[in-house]
């Protein structure tokens, strides 16, 4: 038994630990709900913790593994949220089975966001570092602004689109306005349960772990570490960049579908730059390139502000300080020297204590 355990390689063991952690957390939560020990406040947060975790894990693929800063991740979530919500509202009578309807909504959300990811990726990924970040920001804002003025309705003739107001949709009597511009979509069936969310989180995690540990994943990390060197050994940079970027976008779309099926009204103004930054904070705090860290920090940073009410006003302030301090801690020469000194001191102490034992 023991030798078998050792044969499992390091990355597989790490992902088993993460999956185990998620499952244990899920079982504890379910037990608390069943026995009636969980507050309403916490129950309302369960699904949102899952979609934030999905967002963080998927952004980590772009930021941590591909090494490109994307500031428009909320845009993909927005696309997924709208696509999923429109689908569910249209088919709420046609497809009675919640499971099938929600699965289709999730797939649709992922496909729509993924397609936009491919499109934006193709456009954007030839740019380098800083420019790429600012262009992803631009795309995120464009998605938000366009959805903010978009009106969609349907009647017996089909779907009507307008960028002005609900009246110019020219709907027949009995036609339904699905998307009401800045007011967004309301009345989406609340299909996103905690169980489904956890399953989706696990699926997301496994997709990314598998990708990262595959040949493609190693190519992606090679691009991060040195794109010119990666290109010179024959890695098709554009292909792998778009692959990572669109998978990340599709997964953000899934998070969006969860979001829109968990909340009464979906408004595009919620998916601005601020949300993208919040997700970035989760990724940075959890560790870039560390998926488990992303999940833990997303869960903790969603929970803590609710429990530490007095910290609520200071939440964004603390996030910003976290960003600065983490970066300085990781990269500032003084901090690096201090860390090295500390670790060598520790090593020396350990050695000493071992000698004394002998």
């Amino acid at each position: 038994m023991k030798s078998k355990m050792l044969k499992i390689n390091k990355s597989a063991r790490s992902s088993i630990i993460t999956v185990g952690m998620i499952l244990i957390a899920y079982i504890i939560c379910q037990a608390l709900i069943v026995t009636g020990n969980m507050s309403n406040l916490l129950q309302n947060l369960l699904v949102s913790m899952c979609y934030y975790a999905i967002m963080a894990v998927s952004l980590n693929l772009t930021v941590g593994f591909l090494g490109q800063l994307s500031l428009g991740h909320a845009g993909f979530m927005c696309l997924g949220a709208f696509a999923g919500a429109i689908f569910s509202k249209c088919t709420v009578n046609a497809i009675q089975n919640t499971f099938i309807r929600f699965t289709l909504a999730i797939l649709l959300g992922a496909v729509v966001a993924g397609l936009f990811g491919i499109f934006i990726g193709t456009v954007v990924l030839r740019l380098r570092g800083d420019y790429l970040a600012i262009v992803t920001l631009a795309f995120g804002e464009i998605i938000k602004n366009v959805l903010n003025v978009l009106y969609i309705g349907y009647d017996s003739k089909g779907i009507h689109l307008s960028m002005k107001d609900a009246i110019s949709l020219n709907l027949e009597d009995g036609g339904i306005v699905l998307v009401k511009g800045a007011q967004g979509i309301s009345g989406t069936p609340r299909d996103a349960t905690f169980t489904v969310s956890v399953i989706l989180l696990l699926i997301t995690y496994l997709i990314i772990v598998n990708l990262v540990n595959s040949r493609s994943g190693r190519a992606i990390m090679a691009i991060r570490d040195n794109s010119i060197a990666a290109e010179s050994v024959g890695i098709n940079i554009t292909k792998y960049k778009i692959l990572a970027f669109s998978i990340s976008a599709a997964l953000a779309g899934i998070a969006g579908v969860l979001y829109s099926h968990n909340i009464a009204t979906v408004q595009s103004s919620k998916f601005g730059y601020n949300l993208s930054i919040m997700i970035l904070v989760f990724v940075v705090l959890g560790g870039m390139g560390n998926l488990r860290g992303s999940i833990i920090s997303a869960v903790l940073l969603t929970l803590l502000p609710e429990y530490l009410r007095f910290l609520r006003d200071y939440r964004m302030l603390i996030y910003s300080i976290v960003l600065i301090v983490m970066m300085l801690y990781n990269w500032a020469p003084a901090c690096v020297a201090w860390r090295n000194k500390l670790s060598s001191n520790l090593a020396a102490m350990l050695k000493k204590s071992k000698k004394e034992e002998l």
Binding site: V63, G67, L69, L71, V123, V124, R126, L127, R128, G129, D130, Y131, A133, I134, V135, L137, A138, F139, E141, I142, N145, V146, N148, V149, M163, I228, A229, Y273, I277, L280, V284, D313, Y314, M316, L317, Y319, S320, I321, V322, L323, I324, M326, M327, L328, N330, W331, A332, P333, A334, C335
Partner: protein, 293 residues
Amino acid sequence: MNFLTHLLNGISLGSVYSIIALGYTMVYGIAKMINFAHGDVIMVGGFIIFTLMSTLGLNPFFSVLAAMIVCTLLGMTIERIAYKPLRKAPSLAVLITAIGVSYLLQNLALLIYGAESKSFTSVIPVKALSLFDGRLSISGETLVTIPLCIVIMIGLNFFIKKSKTGRGMIAVSEDKEAAVLMGVNVNKTIAITFAIGSAIAAIGSALMFSAYHNLSPTSGAMPGIKAFVAAVFGGIGSIPGAMIGGILLGVIEILSRAYISTQLGDAIVFLILIVVLLVKPTGILGRKIQEKV
């Protein structure tokens, strides 16, 4: 006449963008980083002028002067604490730090002044000019903004081309190591760049908030990003480029708000950024930089 009014408003807004864009373009040229917090330095400048004028009743001129001093110190402090230790770090780390600083300033302002927007009294004592029997009216802000922008631009260009410090800046932006060998103090030069950029940002903030009156903790972020778009548009690192890019962007924004859609103005500005970066990533007046292995 309607078109002319929009055009003038566009040029006026564009002049503000180009003043703000100077900060981005100088810092990017010399420190090779996007100073995301630049837009928020503008917001801080606006709040200082607001506090001094509306709360303490100080003279507008001295308020703007005080804002310039505070913004200069702020810019230098930010550079010293947050960016200087990261000179050798990957650009991803620097960018995240810059975003962090931007958020820090916004949230500090939020805690001090609250979220609701303040009404900013214009600092410009010039009356509106009425032409063609009142069919065309030019606001005092526009009358001051456009010439002031040109003066700043010429002055800065002169400073960089002629003064020793300015030439040091050019040297650092060309080649940091070589500049060190030629006796340029790189750290000091970068600090001065941040100082100048922030001081000009304070002027930009006085002009912008005088024209638009709304002042809130987040009101620096969007103009900041748009000014960056302007800097990219004109060719990052180039001072005349910032001016051309800023004015073009302002005109395009106002005209598209007037003739296409009020709500899609921002989206159109960002679309321009994307198109420019794809078609001519170096901007109108930029130079191509070869990537080294």
